[in-house]
Symmetry: C2
Subunit: 230 residues, 2 copies
DNA sequence: CCAAAAGTGTTTGCCCTACACCCATGT
DNA sequence: ACATGGGTGTAGGGCAAACACTTTTGG
């Protein structure tokens, strides 16, 4: 048996989007040296637990959520003192969720769980602020070449929601007509016959749904999703 | 202290390119159950060793090489029996090297170290074949949006080398004129005044060098490297 | 003079960009 | 009727794609 004394943890950077604001989920620690400090949800991996299962469990336990999209981001293990108790290597996961689907609840190790606007995030414990920075970059990049924006929206959404999401995350203006034209040309959203009105006034808009099956089909045929606007 | 009994390892997927063929580095195990089995270079992380340092050390020890490019690829830890002795999580690294820079030598744990053409790679031990597949995909993708092809070539190279590298890795034909035009338009390669002739006949070609400084400068100014040809 | 590889411009068509007005609803 | 947000078409320019001949060297 190898003599090695390193512990392994997972952490989740969970993004949520609502009404023009991008949020990140953080939890407040209840125990240990960093009590009351805000950190990312996460924890140690169990001996017989796959990494993915570990993140999913932690997100459930610490904040009561189940995500729409989850992928491995990066493993943090170059700073051997990133946790000052003992050596911990953390596998960070990038996740997307529609915040409206959940009421946050902190049950196990977390005192509190809360959404923070990305741009008003307090300094987090450990190297978690770096993780958020990296994940935020990944989100920006990935949004342009993979249809992950839909995982931040509900099942049904207005075109303006989608457009605002892109504007907000990519931090630039988008031409409404060109955007709609492009998305529709992909053929991966379906128009429903429902119309809704959001604010107090204004014309109601049609609801759309993302057609994941169609997207998967297209991917097999060398389709390339790509949104890049000036 | 947390009760956890998981070991952590690193593995390297090292690509080399020479004369129209893409190679991967593998080593033959000298000890243990998988003796004589080909696997990727790698090994356990030391308690006080950053992950990056661990891969670099293993590549040096097991094959005597130092790479041009190294980045984290993915952490393999979902299959809890990927190593059947005990639970091991492996952080896989993606690396590029110019094979002409090194004579492979296997000194420590490895019986032998050898370059295999990617398309004629034997089945590797553990889940290392999956790692190679993933790394190969990463290489193909990254080649189109980051100038990492240069890390597979020597300091000086012919334009035809670069072109063939792209052809070979992306597995499609490239129009020589359009390719040269595009690369030159980026302004990230410099023409030297040297000319060399490769085969027995044919017109000698000019040597070029990659201008990394210029590239880094351009990156700060919102430059986007991008090679995608029909 | 023939074979082999390097070097070089132009035309065409498509897609991205830019841009402004009408429509449906609530107050 | 006005304010608010939804919905729509077109013209021009730039860039990528397609394409073939000349040059230099060795045998």
């Amino acid at each position: 048996m190898i003599d090695q004394n390193i512990k392994i943890a997972v952490d989740g950077i969970v993004f949520g989007y609502e009404k023009g604001i991008l949020y990140v989920l953080a939890v407040q620690q209840r125990f240990g040296k960093l009590t009351n400090q805000w950190v990312l949800p996460g924890g140690f991996v169990k001996d017989d637990e796959p990494l993915l299962a570990a993140v999913e469990r932690e997100l459930k336990e610490e904040a009561g959520i189940t995500v729409n999209y989850l992928e491995q981001l990066h493993t943090f293990g170059d700073d051997i003192h990133r946790d000052d108790r003992f050596r911990v290597i953390s596998v960070a996961y990038f996740a997307l969720v529609n915040p409206q689907n959940f009421v946050l609840k902190a049950d196990t190790d977390a005192k509190d769980a809360k959404w923070f606007p990305v741009n008003q995030l307090p300094a987090l414990g450990y190297d978690h602020s770096d993780m958020v920075k990296l994940a935020h970059q990944r989100l920006k990049n990935k949004l342009t070449y993979q249809p992950i924006g839909f995982d931040l929206l509900g099942e049904e959404f207005l075109f303006s929601d989608l457009e605002n999401l892109y504007c907000c995350i990519l931090e630039r203006d988008i031409d409404r007509r060109n955007f709609r034209k492009k998305i529709l040309s992909f053929g991966i959203v379906n128009e429903t016959d429902k119309v809704v009105k959001i604010g107090a006034s204004g014309r109601p808009g049609k609801l759309f749904t993302f057609d994941k099956l169609k997207y998967n089909q297209l991917m097999k045929e060398n389709f390339q999703f790509d949104i890049r606007f000036a």
